[in-house]
């Protein structure tokens, strides 16, 4: 047996012009989450508890696109989704369309542990969370000023953005860019 191991991610598809201080902030958060997972593993917590613990931490910090700091819908609201799977017995739980549960990953865990199903969505997921006294917050809690700005850019560029943190100046949102890659004006890739 090879001992414990842990990997975390905060999303793929990064703005090539992400400022250095933002990159540093991301690295510090990833290091913090790794250390959280490592100490849990050293205390012999099972893998399923460790993945939930680490993703909860990532949902609570607004830096990445989940929980607080989630991407916004076309209406400027937040609809979150999450899933969790235990390789030991291949048990799993998932939720979608969650708008007021503070930690969607814990609701997915609850679906896995406390329901006869593996996936609950929208009003069913919210009702299940209420029934089990999960921590609920207003949808506003998840919305950040950064993301309001990102949504505005996306609308001006008439596009849908995934995980990119595209800066205001280089997105060229106001200008009709002839070439688009991954839904972004090619100018974003110009440096490359």
């Amino acid at each position: 047996m090879g001992g414990w191991a842990i990997v975390v991610h905060g999303g793929a598809g990064v703005d090539p012009n992400l400022p250095a201080e933002r990159q540093e902030e991301a690295k510090q958060l990833l290091t913090h989450c790794l250390n959280l997972g490592i100490s849990a593993l050293r205390s012999s917590l099972p893998a399923i508890d460790v993945v939930e613990l680490v993703v909860r931490e990532l949902e609570t910090n607004p830096f990445f696109n989940s929980g607080r700091g989630s991407a916004l819908t076309e209406k400027g609201t937040v609809e979150m989704e999450a899933s969790i799977m235990d390789g030991n017995g291949r048990r799993c739980g998932a939720v979608s369309g969650v708008t007021s549960v503070k930690n969607p990953i814990s609701l997915a865990r609850l679906v896995m542990d406390k329901s006869p199903h593996s996936y609950l969505a929208f009003s069913g997921a919210e009702a299940f969370a209420k029934k089990h006294d999960m921590e609920m917050v207003d949808n506003e809690y998840f919305i950040t000023e950064d993301n309001k700005g990102m949504l505005k850019q996306a609308k001006e560029a008439n596009t849908i953005l995934f995980d990119y943190r595209v800066p205001l100046d280089s997105c060229g949102a106001g200008v009709e860019s002839p070439i688009v890659m991954n839904g972004l004006p090619i100018s974003v890739y110009a440096p490359e």
Partner: protein
């Protein structure tokens, strides 16, 4: 999107993924993150969490495919990750992280950067963004 894959000292694997989805997405849009076998998968061989263009990850059943090529083609963890990122995404852009029951860590992505960090019991630890 955020995710975590872990193998504990008993060799048990697990994976978890959580997201707000796509900026400016339609109401009611479901991505890969909640779909078991697409954005998240774990079995006795490995644990996998994916991120990126959800529609491409769903079509490629990305997370399950890492476990499948390990199981049926006998690939090691990093080989399986590289194979799936290279062969299953078509024009889609995505990344994934994975652990194996034998305590290995691996990740792969075909887009501009991925925020990731990994650590193993023998002291290895890495945090990165770019290639």
């Amino acid at each position: 999107t955020v995710g975590c894959a872990v193998v504990d000292s008993q060799g048990r694997c697990a994976a978890a993924t959580s997201t707000g989805g796509l900026m400016n997405k339609m109401m009611g849009r479901i991505g890969d993150s909640p779909l078991i076998g697409a954005g998240t998968y774990a079995c006795d061989l490995c644990g996998v969490s994916c991120t990126g263009e959800g529609e491409a990850i769903i079509r490629g059943t990305l997370a399950r495919d890492v476990a499948a090529v390990m199981e049926y083609k006998g690939l090691g963890l990093q080989e399986a990750v590289d194979f799936v990122v290279k062969e299953r995404l078509d024009e889609g852009k995505a990344g994934l992280i994975a652990v194996s029951k034998t305590g290995e860590v691996a990740y792969g992505f075909n887009c501009v950067g991925m925020f990731r960090g990994c650590a193993t019991e023998d002291g290895f630890m890495e945090v990165g963004i770019w290639e």
